[in-house]
Amino acid sequence: MVETDAPHRATNRGPGRLLIAVYLLFAIAATSRAGLQIATRFDEAPVAYLLSALAAVIYIVAAAGLARAGHGGRRVALVCCSVEFVGVIGVGILSLTDKALFPDETVWSQFGSGYGYIPLVLPALGLFWLWRTRNDPA
């Protein structure tokens, strides 16, 4: 899927731009969800809602890092994708084993099943793309 003709791969071009678009969509989804939950019913599931907010921030920063590219942007994106990957797997396991901690769903609950498991695939694709573009001269 990431086959392109160009020998030089820029982080924020081509497939990278598609990745940024999906990150943007998830940034919007997670931000509105977390904002609404925290504003209207924070007491019901504070851990879940704070986690949604954290996920939202990570998606936003990751999208910005990928879009900015360059050395700093790539490093930011690397940290975000790694945290995201650990987060979605950690929260996925926790949401299955400790239901009391998550009375309401988060973006990452059950490995992101509410979002078509894209939250699980996205950080892997992000890390893969960062690795593919490791020689990005920008």
Binding site: G14, A21, I28, T40
Partner: protein, 121 residues
């Protein structure tokens, strides 16, 4: 209001997604049809939003106002987002972006309908 228009936007969006997917598979950048389709889709979504606001003015209230307006605002922003990104990326990946966003749009339409039965959920 019945859900005909909302259903029409879902169908249009899916057709557009399929078209864009074919373009991406054939290594084609976003073409005129994709941009035109996004424009038509946006008009349809704006009409849905306008009808919802009219119903709101008529005294109807969505079950979850916060979620409803969140989905509504997100929805009308999606086709322009796709168009802007498609123009920034005049390669097959631009078509892939149009495809991805046109796959997300129907989901948001359905979620919007679930928050308010006025839209024919």
């Amino acid at each position: 209001m019945d859900g005909t228009l909302a259903t029409a936007t879902i169908v249009l969006s899916l057709v557009l997604a399929a078209w864009a997917l074919v373009a991406a598979a054939r290594n084609r950048p976003p073409d005129r049809i994709q941009l035109l389709g996004l424009a038509v889709l946006e008009v349809g979504l704006l009409v849905v939003a306008a009808l919802a606001l009219v119903a709101l003015g008529g005294g109807d209230r969505p079950g979850e106002p916060g979620a409803f307006f969140g989905y509504l605002v997100t929805l009308v922003c999606l086709p322009p987002l796709a168009a802007v990104l498609a123009r920034m990326e005049p390669t097959r990946w631009g078509s892939a972006i149009v495809c991805a966003i046109c796959l997300v749009t129907p989901v948001v339409v359905v979620r919007l309908q679930q928050t308010w039965e006025v839209l024919g959920g």
